[in-house]
C-alpha cells in the first residue's frame, strides 16, 4: 500500500518533470533549432554587452523570418569556434587575426560595419601619470612607474580577445617584449571577459584597456576613470564575415550573406548612429558608412553588398 502510494507520487513527479520539459522544449524550439532557419554568430563581447545584437537580431527576424543567435566570446575564441565550423558568421575586431582567418580560407565576404575607440582606464589618482599622454607613451609610463610604485598594476584580458591583441600591440609599439611584460609581477592576466576584467581592475585599482562601447555599458558600476581616449593607436574597427562553405559545407551561406548585407545596410547604419547616445552621450559604435578613410579600409569593404 505504502509502496504503491510512493510509486504514484514518483510517477506524478516524473510526469510533472516531463510536462515541464515539454512545455519549455516547445518554447525553446520555437526559437529555431533546425539548420536552415537558424543562424549562429560567434561574436566579440562588446556587441553583446551593449545589447546591440539583440536588437538587430529581432529586426532581422521580422524581415526574414530567420532566427539569429549569438555566442559572445573573445575574438580569438570566436574565430576558433568558426574554424570548427560551429558558427555561420563571425563579428570581431582584430585585423591581424581576421586576415589570418581569411588567408586560411575560413573567412569570406568581410565587411566593416562600424568603429569606436579603445580607451585606457585606471584609478582616479592615476599613480603612473598617464592622463594626457598618447596611447603608446601611456603604456610606457605604466611600465616605468611600476619600478618605483608597487601600487601600479595593469589588468589584462589575457584571453586572446581583440582587446587583448591590441594591448599586446601597444606593448610592442612601446618597444617591449610581450613575454617580459607578461611575466611581470604588476601585470595581472585576468583570463576573462571585458566586464569581469573591468571589475577586477576596479577592485585592484589597476589600469586596463577597454573599448568605448563596453566602457559605456559598465561605467556606472565602476570607480575607474578614462585616462587616455581617442588616440589614433586606439582605433577599434568591427568587421563581419561569413564562414566559407567550402571549408564548412553545413553553414547557412544564403542567410549569412543576408546578414552581412543587413549589417552594412542604411537601416542598421542609421541605428548605429544613435544607438547608446541616450545613455552614453556618444554612440557605442560609429557607423562604418562613409568612414572608410578613418578606419583604414577600402570603400568597398564598407558598402558593397556581398552576392
Amino acid at each position: 500500500m505504502i509502496g504503491k502510494l510512493s510509486f504514484g507520487i514518483i510517477a506524478l513527479v516524473l510526469g510533472a518533470m516531463l510536462f515541464c520539459g515539454a512545455v519549455s522544449a516547445e518554447k525553446v524550439e520555437s526559437l529555431g533549432e533546425h539548420g536552415a532557419d537558424r543562424l549562429l554568430i560567434a561574436t566579440t563581447t562588446s556587441l553583446d554587452a551593449t545589447k546591440l545584437l539583440d536588437l538587430l537580431e529581432e529586426k532581422f527576424k521580422k524581415e526574414t523570418g530567420v532566427t539569429v543567435e549569438h555566442v559572445a566570446v573573445g575574438t580569438g575564441q570566436a574565430l576558433e569556434i568558426a574554424r570548427n565550423c560551429d558558427a555561420d558568421i563571425v563579428m570581431v575586431h582584430d585585423r591581424v587575426a581576421e586576415d589570418k582567418f581569411i588567408d586560411e580560407g575560413f573567412g569570406v565576404d568581410r565587411r566593416v560595419f562600424g568603429y569606436n575607440y579603445f580607451l585606457l582606464v585606471g584609478p582616479k589618482n592615476d599613480p603612473a601619470k598617464v592622463a594626457g599622454l598618447n596611447g603608446t607613451a601611456a603604456f610606457m609610463a605604466i611600465e616605468k612607474a611600476t619600478a618605483e610604485d608597487p601600487s601600479v598594476i595593469f589588468v589584462s584580458r589575457g584571453d586572446n580577445s581583440g582587446t587583448h591583441s591590441r594591448e599586446k600591440l601597444l606593448w610592442k609599439w612601446g618597444g617591449y617584449d610581450y613575454a617580459d611584460i607578461n611575466s611581470s609581477e604588476w601585470y595581472r592576466e585576468a583570463g576573462a571577459g571585458m566586464g569581469q576584467t573591468l571589475t577586477m581592475a576596479d577592485e585592484l585599482q589597476g589600469y586596463t584597456l577597454t573599448d568605448s562601447a563596453s566602457w559605456g555599458t559598465y561605467e556606472s558600476n565602476l570607480s575607474l576613470v578614462p585616462l587616455v581616449e581617442n588616440d589614433e593607436k586606439f582605433l577599434n574597427v568591427y568587421a563581419v564575415m561569413r564562414v566559407n562553405d567550402e571549408k564548412c559545407p553545413d553553414v547557412n551561406t544564403e542567410m549569412a550573406k543576408k546578414w552581412i548585407n543587413f549589417m552594412i545596410s542604411d537601416e542598421v547604419q542609421d541605428i548605429l548612429q544613435t544607438y547608446g547616445v541616450e545613455k552614453n552621450g556618444v554612440p557605442y559604435f560609429n557607423p562604418g558608412r562613409g568612414s572608410a578613410d578613418v578606419m583604414g579600409v577600402t570603400d568597398e569593404e564598407t558598402k558593397d553588398p556581398v552576392v
Partner: protein, 228 residues
C-alpha cells in the same frame, strides 16, 4: 548586508512579476536538468544494479573508477563534450553544440558516475540476510531485482537527488556546450555567471535565490515521497 537584502527583494519582485526573461531562463533550466536527470536515472540505476549483482574481473577497479569520477570537473566534461559535439568532432552531425540538447548530453554524462556509484552503494548496503532470504524463496531474476530496488529505494532516491543537485548547480558544462545564448541555452547558473561578470550583483543574487528555491522545492517533494 544591504546588497544581500536588495538581492532578496529583487528576487521576490522578479518571481512575483514573472519577468519573461527570468521565466525563460528558469524553464530552460528545468527542462535541461529534468531531462538530464531522467536519462541519467534510466542509465545509472540499471548500470549500478548490473555492476552490483554481477561478478566479473576488475569489478572493484571499476567501482573505484566510478567513485573517482564523482569528482569529474564540470569543465572537463564541458571540454570533452565540446570536442565531441563540434561539427568537426565525431558527433558533429547531430548539430548539438550550442543547443539545449548538447547541454543535456553533457549534464547526463556528468551525473551518471555519481548516480551509478550511489546506486551501487545503496544496493551493497542491503543486509545480506535479506538477499539470502529473497534467493531462498526462489525469486526470479526480475523479482530479485525488484525487491532489492525496493529495499534500497530511499538510498536510490538520494542518488537521484544528488544527481539533480549536481546538474542544476553546475556551470562549467552549461556554459561551454550551451554558450549561454539568450533565450535558448541560458540557464540560471550561466546567467548568474554573466550578470556577475557584468557587475550586476543584485540580479545575480536574485537568480541564485530562484535556483536555491527550486532545489528546495524538489528536495521537499522527494523528502515527502521518502517519508511515506
Amino acid at each position: 548586508m544591504n546588497d544581500l537584502l536588495t538581492g532578496f527583494q529583487m528576487a521576490l519582485n522578479l518571481i512575483l512579476a514573472a519577468d519573461p526573461e527570468v521565466l525563460t531562463i528558469t524553464l530552460t533550466t528545468l527542462r535541461i536538468t529534468f531531462t538530464s536527470v531522467l536519462i541519467g536515472t534510466l542509465i545509472s540505476i540499471p548500470l549500478g544494479a548490473a555492476i552490483t549483482f554481477r561478478e566479473f574481473r576488475g569489478k572493484k577497479t571499476l567501482i573505484s573508477i566510478i567513485q573517482t569520477l564523482y569528482a569529474l570537473p564540470t569543465v572537463i566534461v564541458g571540454l570533452l563534450c565540446y570536442m565531441v559535439l563540434s561539427r568537426s568532432g565525431p558527433l558533429g552531425d547531430l548539430k548539438w553544440l550550442f543547443t539545449p540538447n548538447g547541454m543535456i548530453f553533457g549534464q547526463t554524462i556528468l551525473i551518471i558516475p555519481i548516480m551509478a556509484g550511489l546506486t551501487i552503494a545503496a544496493l551493497q548496503a542491503i543486509d545480506p540476510i535479506i538477499t539470502d532470504t529473497i534467493r531462498s524463496l526462489g525469486a526470479t531474476r526480475l523479482q530479485f531485482l525488484k525487491s532489492h530496488l525496493r529495499e534500497a529505494r530511499f538510498a536510490i532516491m538520494a542518488a537521484i537527488i544528488v544527481g539533480f543537485s549536481r546538474a542544476i548547480s553546475e556551470v562549467g558544462t552549461a556554459i561551454m556546450i550551451g554558450g549561454n545564448i539568450k533565450g535558448h541555452t541560458r540557464v540560471l547558473t550561466t546567467a548568474i555567471s554573466l550578470q556577475t561578470s557584468m557587475g550586476n550583483f543584485n540580479l545575480s543574487l536574485a537568480l541564485g535565490i530562484i535556483l536555491l528555491a527550486i532545489a528546495l522545492i524538489i528536495n521537499l517533494i522527494m523528502g515527502f515521497v521518502q517519508n511515506r
